[in-house]
């Protein structure tokens, strides 16, 4: 495994400038300025309540931000709408798995692949003669996450681990540049953990960017090329993993003074 040397200022990926979000007087994110480079695996770490999930929610338009600017490639955004997320080359998973519960596993993936044009989607029948490429892609992903046999069961009937995997699969079905995974390793058995790690490595190998949030420092060390540390809504530091995780501030933030 080759570790790239990362200097955040050199690479221009997703950049936030002065991003601020309040929840009823409490600042979940406070003037956060950081850069996520467009390659490799980046992990976002920080103690509970440090604003990791909020950051992801703001970047994908799930929540509106109060102040600040998000720069994606060369475009600046004062407002991000959720439906623009794939257009910005971003897709994501959620901390609490949010599948389309009363739809089949198959449909959960297909819905990501089909036509975004309203009128065209009324005519498109991807389970019929059209959409062979969609079906191929879905099949490939389902086999990759090991859920091909389960394709006709309802998403709500899956086990927790399977749901987690399916959600990652659903994100992977969309071919974009940046995959933001909110705690993809939480609550998984070791076997599934390996599977998710392989998926992440595979994404990196194909030149995609992966951003993930995790509390598991072993996995963070093992996978990530660069690391971003948040603490109580503020950006603490970012850089190469080994260097950052040995910083006294980071250790203090984690151990609580």
């Amino acid at each position: 495994m080759t570790h790239h040397h990362i200097d955040p200022s050199e690479y221009f990926g997703i950049q936030t400038i002065g991003l601020t979000k309040q929840f009823g007087g409490v600042k979940a994110l406070d003037n956060v300025t950081l850069t996520i480079p467009i390659f490799g695996i980046t992990s976002v770490v920080g103690p509970n309540g440090s604003g990791k999930s909020t950051l992801v929610n703001l970047l994908t338009g799930v929540l509106p931000y109060d102040q600040g600017i998000v720069k994606i490639e060369t475009n600046s955004f004062e407002v991000i709408h959720a439906y623009e997320t794939p257009g910005h080359g971003i897709t994501r998973t959620f901390q609490e798995v949010r599948l389309f519960d009363q739809m089949t596993v198959w449909d959960n993936l297909m819905v990501v692949l089909t036509n975004r044009k309203l009128w065209a989607s009324m005519i498109e029948r991807s389970n019929g003669r059209q959409g062979a490429d969609h079906r191929e892609k879905t099949e490939e992903i389902l086999k990759k996450v090991g859920m091909w046999e389960k394709r006709d069961s309802m998403a709500e009937d899956l086990s927790y681990g399977q749901r987690k995997l399916l959600e990652i699969g659903r994100a992977m079905a969309l071919e974009v540049q940046v995959y933001i995974l909110d705690e993809p390793f939480a609550g998984l058995f070791p076997q599934m953990l390996e599977r998710v790690k392989d998926l992440l490595r595979e994404l990196r190998a194909s030149g995609r960017t992966v951003v993930f949030i995790s509390h598991n420092m072993d996995i963070v060390r093992e996978l990530s090329d660069q690391i971003i540390v948040l603490e109580s809504g503020k950006f603490l530091m970012s850089g190469e993993v080994d260097k950052i995780l040995n910083q006294p501030e980071v250790i203090r933030a984690y151990l609580g003074t």
Binding site: T60, G61, V62, H81, A82, Y83, E84, T85, P86, G87, T91, R92, F94, R98, L99, F100, D101, Q102, M103, W106, D107, M110, V111, V112, T114, N115, R116, L118, S121, M122, I123, E124, R125, S126, N127, G131, A132, R135, E136, E139, R151, D152, R170, L174
Partner: protein
């Protein structure tokens, strides 16, 4: 082609079997029971009665299929659908009735005297246009607030029918609504009208089926399950909700046009809030997110009234009320034991 899941025979069989097992027997029993009941009624009351009943069924079926697109597939529990039905019926009545009310010393309205087939598209488009405006406002609401505002739409529509006398003659109603005419063949007979309604029902079911089995239908289901996630995957859900809402309203407007022509008399009492609540109950009773379920529900609803006549000691003027009581109790039981309705695919 073997790689695609839907085409292999073995997988199709397996899918069919699991689907049957999941559905349980209730759906089957309900189907058999209701259809047997229809046959019994036909045999007992004679075909003339069955034709009338069939027409009523067709109209209710168009309504409930169209409402199911909104409630079952998109997850918007709308209780205001009767408003679009009323717009269709009044459109038909105003445009086709050329009776002069001057001599009756009641309010008179403008006469257009259009033929049926010219008025019907106008009914459909009028319902769609109103739906577009209403939907644009309603789109931001969800869950029980959506129920409340849709109640509001039904009440506003009813009050407009009742109080805008210059257009609708208010409580007097409009009579002599035209029956359809194709060339020289006037569809005046009951059987002819049933055939016409059945054709329209088939068209509506066809369109609905086409929509829900397309990619569009899948997105609707995704919106029902989690609107925000559907957005994150790039769908502008507002437009999808608006589109299905307008399509559904247009179908209801079609049903309204047929209804106006069928009864040849339109007054506000057919479009009260209660009817709207009954309509929602039919959709839930038949089954959410299932077109077949809606047909089943409408049939059961139409037959239920006849079934009530079997109850001893029940005066005939209370048949409608008794049906309402049965429907209410069924609704409670379904919510307890089978929240997707008899043949439904979506649990509320």
């Amino acid at each position: 082609m073997n790689s695609s899941p839907a085409t292999t025979n073995a997988s199709l069989m397996a899918r069919g079997m699991t689907a049957l097992r999941e559905k349980g027997d209730i759906e089957l029993y309900a189907n058999v029971f209701v259809i047997a009941w229809a046959v019994i009624i036909t045999l007992w009351q004679g075909t003339g009665f069955a034709v009338t009943l069939g027409t009523v069924f067709c109209i209710w079926a168009i309504l409930s299929v169209s409402l199911n697109l909104v409630v079952g597939y998109t997850g918007l529990l709308s209780v205001g659908h009767i408003g679009f039905f009323g717009i269709g019926a009044y459109g038909m009545a105003i445009l086709t009735s050329d009776t002069s009310y001057e001599l009756l010393r009641t309010e008179s309205i403008a006469q257009f005297g259009w033929p049926f087939f010219a008025a019907l598209p106008v009914c459909v488009i009028a319902a769609g246009a109103v739906a577009l405006a209403v939907g644009a406002v309603f789109n931001r609401f969800r869950d029980d607030i959506y129920v409340l505002v849709s109640f509001g739409f039904a009440i506003i529509a009813f009050n407009v029918f009742l109080s805008w006398r210059g257009l609708t003659r208010g409580a007097y109603g409009i009579r002599d609504v035209a029956r359809p005419k194709i060339g020289s063949w006037e569809v005046s007979g009951e059987l002819d009208f049933l055939i016409l309604c059945a054709v329209f029902l088939l068209i509506v079911v066809g369109i609905s089926w086409f929509l829900v089995s397309s990619s569009f239908g899948r997105v609707l289901k995704a919106i029902r399950e989690d609107e925000q996630v559907a957005q994150v995957f790039g769908y502008r859900t507002t437009f999808y909700k608006l589109a299905i809402w307008v399509i559904s309203a247009m179908m209801a407007g079609l049903a309204g046009g047929l209804f106006g022509s069928f009864t040849t008399f339109v007054d506000p009492n057919s479009f009260i809030l209660l009817e709207s609540m009954l309509l929602v109950s039919i959709v839930i009773l038949g089954g959410l997110a299932s077109i077949r379920g809606s047909l089943l529900g409408a049939l059961a609803f139409v037959l239920l009234e006849e079934g009530m006549r079997f109850i001893p000691f029940l005066p005939s003027e209370f048949v409608g009320q008794a049906r309402q009581v049965v429907l209410g109790v069924l609704l409670v039981l379904l919510m307890l034991f089978r929240p997707q309705g008899l043949a439904g695919r979506y649990k509320l």
